[in-house]
């Protein structure tokens, strides 16, 4: 039995995308609508909200739980309380990242973003193909500004720490 964190719900609720957790009445419309929850018992957005409310911080943040969400926003449409479960997931992932819990795929995209200004970059053959089709060049015109912004927001640090 893990120790409950008294302030976890407040911590989540105080983030820009996490306020919805306070609206949750645990009705289960999100979980029964969630395409992932229907496939695996590991993911259950309703239970995740309950764990946040109760303060099971150590069971939520270091694990894969918030990363199962597809962000398909079905729950946002169906939540009768406007609890924005899918949005709260972003709040949880933001907090998880700050604890160092970031899946490799996401970390890779973030890194690419910082280094190139884009999360996906073309391979050599694609570049050649573009040229042969007369499509415009992919430039890095905005990169410098992107890096400045990411430094300012502190995301650069997160990227470098990985």
């Amino acid at each position: 039995m893990s120790e409950l964190d008294l302030g976890f719900m407040g911590e989540v609720a105080n983030t820009p995308r996490g306020k919805g957790v306070l609206l949750c009445i645990q009705c289960g419309r999100c979980s029964s609508s969630c395409p992932v929850a229907r496939l695996t018992s590991e993911h259950n957005p309703r239970r995740l909200m309950e764990m946040v409310i109760m303060g099971f911080k150590s069971e939520v943040l270091p694990h894969q739980l918030p990363w199962y969400c597809l962000s398909c926003f079905t729950c946002l449409d169906r939540c009768p309380q406007g609890g924005d479960v899918g949005e709260v997931m972003f709040a949880l992932r933001n907090l998880a990242v700050r604890q160092g819990n970031i899946p490799a795929g996401v970390a890779g995209q973030a890194k690419a973003l910082y280094e190139t200004g884009r999360v996906i970059n073309p391979v050599r053959t694609a570049l050649d193909k573009r040229e042969s089709l007369g499509l415009g060049k992919i430039t890095a015109d905005g990169l410098e500004e992107v890096q400045k912004i990411l430094k300012k927001t502190g995301m650069e640090k997160i990227i470098q720490s990985k």
Partner: protein, 293 residues
Amino acid sequence: MVKNMKYAFFLGCLIPARELSYEVSVRKVLPELGIELVDMKGANCCAPFSIQSVDYASWLALAARDLCLAEEMGLDIMTLCNDCYESLLMVNTILKRNPELKEQVNQLLSEVGKEYKGKVDVKNLVDVLYGDVGVSKVKSAIKEPINGLKVGTQPGCHLTKPKRIHFELLRGFNDLDALVQATGAESIPYERKEMCCGGPLRDINDDLARQVSRQKLMALKDAEVQAVVTVCPFCFLQLDLGQLEIKRHFSEEFNLPVIHFIELLRMGMGMKLEDWEIKAHRIPITELLKNRL
């Protein structure tokens, strides 16, 4: 009234890197319908969901920077990818409604000499075709109707959800179907149309991502459609490439061709696909469209 048919064209990351055929078709078809596309020089990644998961402020600032570029161009944005669309649209909506947040974001942007003013709108390919061009004009542009083809459409989550954002803009769930019908093809209703393709779980839990796609494909198969029509390049990738992966992992074969909507429209307008474009589909479309290719 003549609508402003000129857009700042936001390509995003995935399309220019991996789905050139989509880009080519858009560049061929839209001018024919009177849409002028102006490339956005210096645009950065929209900050999709993966980036939003890392940091909130970075998302707002990066998307706002793209919006600033469009403001400088004096044009509304048109996106192809649903991820780009939702990201830019949400930030645009949030910042327009929240002056305090706008102030904070502008503080970040001042670092790079930009200021978000909230003067442009964000649209998607479907919005532009449905709202600006109009179904009737699309229909009249069809020279070789795709008669007899039964398709299931995949508008993709972020074209329609959350409803409170999209419905306010009067952008509906059935816009894509109306456009598909205009090409002569038949849009068959199927269960779980609103369901996600599974793509966002790629690289996080590939197995689950495939299982979600599989559910979607099974529903499409049950409705006896001949092909899936997508708008979002991620949906396309997940459902097209995904079928090969499902075959590998579940030994289950759907053989359901996946087509970008713009390709359907292009063929209907009498512009044939080129060989490399046909081959860009991992599930072959040659059998299905043999008379048109």
